[in-house]
Symmetry: C2
Subunit: 522 residues, 2 copies
């Protein structure tokens, strides 16, 4: 690593490649191209899908890299810090390409890159601190000495997400957590942003090289769902991390569970993120609440896993409070925004049609939500439903991925029953006044059994990367309800406890020795 290697020297260029253990290679499968959602046009370079041979080369190299470890990946923090620095160096190329492939706004993408860099640095710190290695020791005189320490599980397959080309994709939380835990990574790039993925992948192979590590620590494969299936079944892969649709996550879960040696699938999938708003809060600050919710629903085209998908508001009648019409107007007044892919547009349209058919009474018309033509534009939408509709119609309880939310007129007396009918979500939120705490304590408790994060007087979108964050939840929010894809605990997914019994100090992982020293001196 030379002193000037962080200067913006050689520009990164995407050449339509997979990156297999340090080498840029073309796949030998079918060709595919990325798609600019704003223009509706395909954009180069041409990619070819990676097939079995590249999968096997990548995972064999990952296994070999893993075999170089002596218990812990002590150079993990340096690798993540180097990748973070290089992401900054190549920020212009990466953001520019991501803007073309996703049509997310430049502001959003600049912010996402910053968040991704911070996440790499945060997880480098977590790894360096050793805090997730969770050492316990039993050292009763004249009895067995035991030391419990968490070790990395082996090579991890990471599946990039469509909706976060950086923070939940190649350089995102799963890659960072796996490397921080000491697990080599083979990423399947999301086919919606292959060139962005290639640029980020080149950052990682450069970082691996700069740190003098085995090239098997990082590979990137380009392709579509067939590639994913091959990767999830590869015997060298010991865990899968995925962010995406329930259908996609469940398919991977089913494949991984059916292996001769089943492996864990950490899939973060569908979530409706229910929101409850009390009558008193509508009265005291209804405008503040609808503004916040509307922004949360339409931001990034509504394509966030934490988007509020259903709002239960005790708004009496719209004539009395104006809540429903003000909410609808704020969501629906927004400019049309591009969705990420033709498939997402198609599913969004389909969801709106199904929901319209399910809603009685208010004569919903969901046509015109999607403009024709090649661009993937859609505007925001609020679907008003009665509580009876919501209880009766399964369709109203499914996630709508895109800038839409269901507004249910629901008196507070119904909320506990509603909470028990909710399927698993990443989050649930309540807007309430301070004098209502005691009365709503049972609702907060009930919601805590259905979600991974309970929010009071705040928005579920905007997931902080920190020690206490949890980004997961009961199925279908996550395939593993105990695990988070964001925050310090995200390393736990890729660590496995091992007990050392009667093992002399010179044969123990260094983390144990260090911890024992801490305990003795502390």
């Amino acid at each position: 690593m030379t002193a000037d290697s962080e200067a913006p020297g050689v520009e990164l260029v995407a050449e339509g490649c997979s990156l297999v253990a340090g080498r840029a290679v073309q796949g030998d499968g079918p060709e595919f191209l990325a798609f600019n959602p704003r223009t509706g046009e395909e954009v180069g370079p041409v990619f070819r899908e990676a097939g079995l041979e590249l999968v096997e080369k990548s995972t064999a190299a990952a296994r070999e890299a893993f075999g170089t470890l002596e218990y812990h990946f002590e150079r993990g923090p340096a690798l993540l810090d180097r990748a973070a620095a290089l992401m900054e160096v190549h920020r212009p190329e990466i953001v520019e390409r991501a803007e073309i492939e996703t049509a997310l706004s430049r502001t959003r993408l600049e912010g996402e890159l910053t968040r991704t860099v911070n996440q790499l640095r945060f997880l480098a710190e977590v790894a360096a601190s050793g805090e997730r290695l969770d050492v316990a020791t039993d050292n009763v005189p004249n009895r067995l000495a035991l030391a419990l320490v968490r070790l990395p599980i082996g090579p991890v397959a990471v599946f990039g997400a469509s909706n976060f080309p950086l923070a939940f994709s190649v350089p995102g939380c799963d890659t960072a957590a796996a490397l921080a835990a000491g697990c080599p990574v083979v990423v399947k790039a999301h086919e919606a942003h292959p060139a962005t993925s290639e640029l980020c992948g080149r950052v990682f192979i450069e970082a691996v090289r700069d740190c003098g590590l085995h090239p098997g620590w990082f590979s990137l494969l380009q392709g579509r769902s067939a590639l994913g299936a091959t990767l999830a079944r590869d015997p060298n892969i010991k865990a899968v991390a995925f962010t995406g649709s329930e259908r996609g996550g469940r398919a991977l879960f089913d494949m991984a569970s059916a292996r001769p040696e089943p492996i864990p699938v950490y899939a973060e999938m569908g979530s409706i993120n229910p929101v409850f708003v009390t009558a008193a809060s509508i009265e005291s600050r209804g405008e503040e609440i609808v503004s916040a919710l509307a922004a949360s629903i339409i931001g990034s085209g509504g394509q966030l896993c934490t988007k509020p998908g259903v709002v239960f508001a005790d708004y009496r009648t719209d004539a009395e409070t104006g809540f429903a019409s003000r909410f609808a107007s704020l969501v629906e007044i927004s400019d049309e925004q591009p969705l990420l892919t033709p498939q997402i547009r198609e599913r969004f349209l389909h969801s709106l049609q199904v929901v319209a058919a399910a809603v009685s009474g208010e004569g919903e018309d969901c046509g015109g939500q999607i403009r024709g033509g090649p661009a993937l534009l859609a505007s925001g939408r609020v679907i008003r439903a009665s509580l009876q509709d919501w209880v009766r119609e399964d369709a109203l309880r499914d996630e709508i991925f895109g800038p839409a939310s269901v507004l249910v007129a629901a008196p507070e007396e119904s909320w506990l029953d509603v909470a028990h009918k909710l399927s698993g979500s990443l989050t649930a939120s309540i807007w309430l006044e301070s004098e209502e705490h005691v009365r709503l304590a049972p609702l907060v408790r009930a919601l805590s059994t259905r979600v991974g994060r309970v929010v009071v007087n705040g928005l579920p979108t905007g997931v902080r990367v920190s020690k206490a964050m949890f980004h997961g939840g009961p199925y279908p929010a996550s395939a593993s309800a105990r695990d988070t894809s964001v925050g310090a605990c995200s390393l736990d997914r890729f660590l496995r406890p091992v007990c050392f019994q009667g093992v002399p100090e010179e044969l123990l992982p260094r983390a144990v020795t260090a911890s024992t020293t801490r305990h003795q001196s502390g």
Copy 2:
């Protein structure tokens, strides 16, 4: 709870019942009887299998009990302590019945009951300390306040094991850990010891009643494998804990993974527990080592999940060291011991036949290992194999459940390759001299990737219940390699982190408030 309730008053009697939310009831399925392995005779009372109706009643009651929780099960420690006290009160009836149904020795069963009582008390302490609730807080001024706390996941189905009628059955580690975590329990008794299970179940319903708890906190169902399938598919059940065969555990795993809402299966299954012995240790203390290993192999009829199933010894030739013949004679000289069930006897016989067919050269004859007649007696057996045999024959790498072990003459140079061929085990052990540490460090490291516990100069049998114990391992040792069924961390299986964001103190779980107070005052 009266002062004299711990006096040995009313004797517990098994009446052939399931125990559904506090009531003793007869199932409506097929009849079955327990079996005395020592006499080969069936023993009463008559049991009838619990069917769908009793399963649904039990799990609905468990869900209802769970609904009474406000975040944490603060009376869990009292419940476990009360159950421990009652186990002591009813020790005579329980041990007597277990001896009839399992033919394990009275010494072993007395010890197992003591261990089970200690385990209940240990997990009561762990629950009371709050240490597994793993609270983290982020409280950056002017930013979001986050609190991360682990909450119970819901009703747990526990499957009793054949080989530990107490410590891994009704009153065992899974029941204790689930209750300690705050999860109501529905136990499927193992059909090999239904009356022992009923007696222990009556202890738990008495403890639940004495503590004034909802009767849904504990149910016990009698039956065979069809009952297990019904239970694992029940939508009120949120996790499965199982100890038993790979076939049984995998079947439950497959069923639970195929549910519309998949649930975790913590199955502790097959394990061969490899042992390595260096030439230097054979030379310096060969007799000590073979004696220890032989006792570990034949104890409890070899029916322990941590039994050393394969020994790789660098013993040169038997003529030089006498290691192999001394080892064989110590294992094979032992008295015939009863195996637990006819199925286990049958599988043991089958395994020996398969292994005999697989071993070349030494003309193994495994007939006569099992005496005919109604009793389930078997004596110990060492199967000698060459390294080539072991590498070539899959059968030699499978678990043999019973008093037998494979002895492989393997020079130390081969051990790293051997380690890489091992499938997942609960344990691996090495006997070595202190001057050999440095040379064997790579082997210790390699074994740590294949097992959940590495033992140096000690036996894998005898699993201490403590903070640093880990009783699990890579597949097929466990269905979830990250989880342990023994020790303080066993609670983690039944806890799920939830983040509270911006939640006012009066709406938070008390554990968070307590922890924050500790942090502030500490």
